[in-house]
Every structure is written in C-alpha cells, then in structure tokens.
C-alpha cells in the first residue's frame, strides 16, 4: 500500500483510502464485468493437460505475468493511464489493444469486459468515459478510469493483475486442478512478482509490449472448439 500512499500526496490524486476502496470495488469479482465467465484459455490448457498440478499452474501464471497476455495488459493499462487528457493517444492505445487481442474469444473477453467496466464505472462520473464511448479493451478501460480519478498507475496495474490471477486460480478450482488452499498459496507466492511487474509496467512505454507465450495463446484459439465448456474463453 506504500505506493498508494506515496501517490496520494500529489495534487489532483485520490486519497490513499479512496484509491484503495475504488480499486477494491472496480476489480472485485462482484463488479459487473462478468470476469467469472472467462478463462483466457486456461480451461482449454487444463483439459489438454498442460498445467497438470498446482506447481505447473504456478509456472503458467508466472509466464503470463512475465512474458504473456498479463504483461501486455499491464503495459496497455499504464499507457491508457498516461493518456487520459489526450484523446488521440488514448484512441490509439484503445485501437492497439483491440488489434493485439489474438483470437476471437480473447478479443471478446477483453472487449466485452472493457465495455462492461466503462458502463459500470459511470457510477463515478468523469469526462474520460465519453472519450471511450466506442468501448475499449479491458486494461485500457481500467487504466483510463483509474488515471482519471487520480489513482496511481502502479496501484492500478497491481490491482488489475491481482484480479486477473485470482480469476485464473478460480478457473483452476472450478476445473478441478487445485483446491481453495492451494489457490490462496499460489496468490501469496505470486505477490512479489505482481508488485515487481506493476512497477516495471507503470514505468514502461508501448515499446515494452511483447509476448512469448504462444502455447497459452494457442489454448485460447483451441478453446473455440472445446466440446464441453464452463467458460466463454
């Protein structure tokens, strides 16, 4: 929470407690973006035996943070966070985030959650919402809204990544790969990496975009034809 405190002292920024409350609300599983219905290909990966246990899932999630879709999301979120006063670069990062979404389900996952996030965030009125009225990918929507309300970039990225990881562990529980206790253990072990990734992303530019997780991406493509499925991606 040190990062929230430090950033809160700047003029125009939310108080540390306000920032904490809003991030908790916006990135809570109860916020109506339908996060629970997406697995980002993890359902497919588990069904084809890629992560076979909690250890393998730890490696999988670590790879997503360091070299995968979560890293790209973090960089895109940070860029949107910087662009809240500049409609053109904000539109550019929104277009880039949409074009980067690999397959149909990944595209749907990020675009539908982004639109739902913007709609629900209208309970906290701000002009930035009208700049994104065409909709935006999920990390762009979160970055822009957090930035507009004076919430620090690193805190916003960290909260976004934590929510995504919590959702992934929840997918793994529902797919029967791990239990609740293991899931919490994974989140505890990933904590330092989340903080480190958030720090790097909040200090990055779009030049930092880059993924290596091709098998995770192929899992999101293959999920389209998975015969029996709990998730939309």
């Amino acid at each position: 929470m040190g990062m929230i405190m430090a950033e809160a002292s700047q003029p125009g920024s939310a108080s540390a407690t306000t920032a904490l409350l809003r991030l908790m609300t916006w990135l809570s599983p109860a916020f109506p973006v339908g996060a629970f219905s997406y697995s980002s290909g993890l359902e497919q990966a588990i069904s084809s035996g890629m992560p076979q246990d909690g250890e393998a899932l730890f490696d999988w999630l670590q790879a997503l943070l360091l070299h995968g879709s979560l890293w790209n999301d973090a960089v895109l979120l940070a860029e949107a966070h910087r662009c809240i006063d500049r409609p053109e670069p904000l539109a550019d990062v929104a277009a880039l985030a949409e074009a980067l979404a690999g397959g149909r389900e990944r595209h749907q996952e990020t675009m539908l959650q982004g639109s739902a996030f913007l709609a629900a965030a209208s309970a906290w009125p701000h002009p930035v919402l009208s700049m994104l009225e065409q909709g935006a990918a999920y990390p762009v929507a979160v970055g822009a809204v957090a930035g507009a309300h004076g919430i620090g970039c690193m805190a916003a990225v960290a909260a976004y990544l934590q929510a995504a990881l919590a959702n992934q562990t929840s997918v793994a529980i529902r797919c029967g790969l791990i239990g609740q206790v293991q899931a919490v253990g994974l989140l505890a072990r990933l904590e330092a990496l989340v903080e480190n990734t958030a720090a790097r992303a909040s200090d990055s530019s779009l030049e930092a975009l880059g993924t290596a997780t091709l098998l995770a991406e192929i899992a999101t493509l293959a999920h389209e034809t998975l015969p029996s499925r709990l998730f939309r991606s």
């Binding site: 074009a99 975009l209 493509l221």
Partner: protein
C-alpha cells in the same frame, strides 16, 4: 534455379529519394563494416496482368523476378551477405498496385548469427492497393545462439485488398545439433486497412531463450513456430478447412472481426522445422486459393 530466377532480372532504377549508404550506415568507431541492404518494388496493372512499375535494389538486398505464366508477379528476396548479425540492417518496401497480385518470398532461410554487439534489423513495409492481393511468404528465419534480431512488418491495405502473411522462426537447426541458449528476438506487426488498425502483434523471446522456450505456456520445448495472418473480406468460410488442416498439430486458428474488418489468425508450434513446414505448406496452399506456392516452399 538461380539462373532461371535471373532470367527476367530488370535493370535497377535508381530512386532519387534514397539515402546514400555512406550517410545511412557507416558504423562508428572503425568497427567492421556491417551489412546493409534496401530493396523496393512496386507493381501496376496492364492488360489484365501484373506488371513491374518501379524496381530498386542496393547493398546486399537483391530481388529476382522469376517468369510467371498466370499474370501474377513473384519476387524473390535475397540477402547476398548470407546472413545477418548485430548492426546489420535490411529494408524492404513493396507496393502492389490496384488490381495486381504480388507474391514475395525469400531465396533461402534468413540466418541470424551471434551478435557480438548491436542488433540486426529487418524493416519491411508493404502496401496493397484497391482490389490487389499481396502474399508475404518469406522462408523460415533461423536464429543461432546469441542472435539479436529486431523485426518490423508494417502493412497498409486498401479497403478491399487481400493480404496473406507468414513468418516462421526456427531456434537453431535441430538436425544440425544446434541449440539456441540465449539471444533476443523481437517481432512487431501492424496491419491497417483503410487507415484503421486491424492487427497488431509483438513477439518477444529474450534472454535465456532455451529456458523460456521450455516453459509450458511458451513453446513447451518446441523449437519452431510460425504466425500467419490472412486479411480479406468474407474469410470466415476458411475457418473449418483450416481447423481440419491444423487438427493434431500444436496450432490454432481463429476468425476475428475488428470494427467490421475481418482476419484469420494462426499460431503454430512444432518440434522442428520440417514438421512446421509440413503443416504450413497445406495451410498456405489453402489460402492461396489454388495459386501455386513459390517453388522455394516445395517440401
């Protein structure tokens, strides 16, 4: 093969706007002169055929135009320096004029050798005019241990243009017992249609590549991978046949609509270069809609 390709080699046309080599690429500090090449070509329609409009080659970039009998044009890209290392730079610019069909391929696999300093750069820009089709089908890029490559592919499509792109990468040559332990590979794609972004991609394999490639979310130990994008109106009907062609492979295909614009995207991983080609050739063939593959792609 080389003689046949050279048969219709046109004279270079020197473009006035080209930065001279001395100005553009003289390495500082008296290090060895690095390789540099620039090749450009554009096509125009004429009597129902694709004709050469402009042609330019400089440095180690060469272009060969094999004779075609179907009214389309094929250009074979050659890097006469025999491979790239840190500090080398290749620039390719191609433009398919309205109602023309241009296929681009390479004479050989591009080899990226160990970089003692700097990064090799390959910078490609493609433009596809109204009613035109361009196929970007270079052969595999081979990364050797401690190679450093930064590649960029920028594509501008007219509203109704058709575009197929394939980029395949091999981490060393398995059959030769070569492995890539570390290195840096960054590949950046941008495809715009009528000025709007349709596709973007950033691949980044950096650092301890062997350890990275072995991770289950990355390449699962595979050493060959490919990305393929097909941009055309009304291309969803290719999805089912492509899924059949990819069945049983470590690959996937999807049809995505971005702001009303369509694309098919494919990612593929294989245990070696031969297996990768065995899957890629029928896939490319299918998306060529009956047009033959460049000869260099024959298995």
């Amino acid at each position: 093969m080389a003689d046949a390709l050279a048969a219709v080699q046109p004279e270079p046309i020197l473009a006035a706007d080209v930065t001279p080599r001395a100005q553009g690429f003289s390495p500082p500090g008296g290090r060895a002169q690095r390789a540099w090449g620039s090749g450009r070509l554009s096509t125009k329609p004429g009597q129902g055929r694709t004709r050469l409009d402009t042609f330019y080659q400089e440095g180690c970039a060469k272009l060969r135009l094999p004779e075609m009998f179907d009214g389309t044009m094929e250009a074979v890209l050659i890097n006469s320096s025999g491979g790239l290392t840190g500090g080398d730079r290749m620039e390719w610019r191609f433009s398919a004029g309205p109602q023309t069909a241009l296929t681009l391929t390479t004479q050989a696999c591009e080899r990226i050798y160990k970089a003692s300093a700097g990064v090799a750069e390959i910078d490609t820009r493609l433009t596809v005019g109204a009613g035109a089709r361009l196929d970007w089908l270079p052969q595999e890029t081979i990364l050797f241990d401690r190679a450093a490559l930064r590649r960029s592919l920028e594509v501008e499509l007219a509203d109704d243009a058709t575009f197929l792109a394939v980029e395949a990468v091999l981490l060393g040559r398995k059959a030769m017992g070569e492995t890539v332990l570390s290195g840096s590979f960054r590949d950046r794609w941008r495809i715009r249609r009528a000025g709007r972004l349709l596709h973007a991609d950033h691949l980044a394999l950096e650092g301890e590549i062997a350890a990275l490639a072995s991770r289950s979310a990355v390449l699962g130990g595979g050493v060959a991978f490919a990305s393929l994008v097909f941009c055309a109106g009304d291309c969803a009907h290719h999805l089912a046949p492509l899924r059949r062609l990819l069945a049983g492979t470590q690959g996937g295909v999807s049809h995505v609509t971005v702001g009303g614009m369509e694309k098919l995207v494919i990612r593929l991983i294989a245990k070696d270069g031969f297996s990768l080609r065995k899957t890629l050739v029928p896939v490319i063939s299918h998306l060529r809609l009956g047009a033959s593959l460049p000869k260099v792609w024959n298995l």
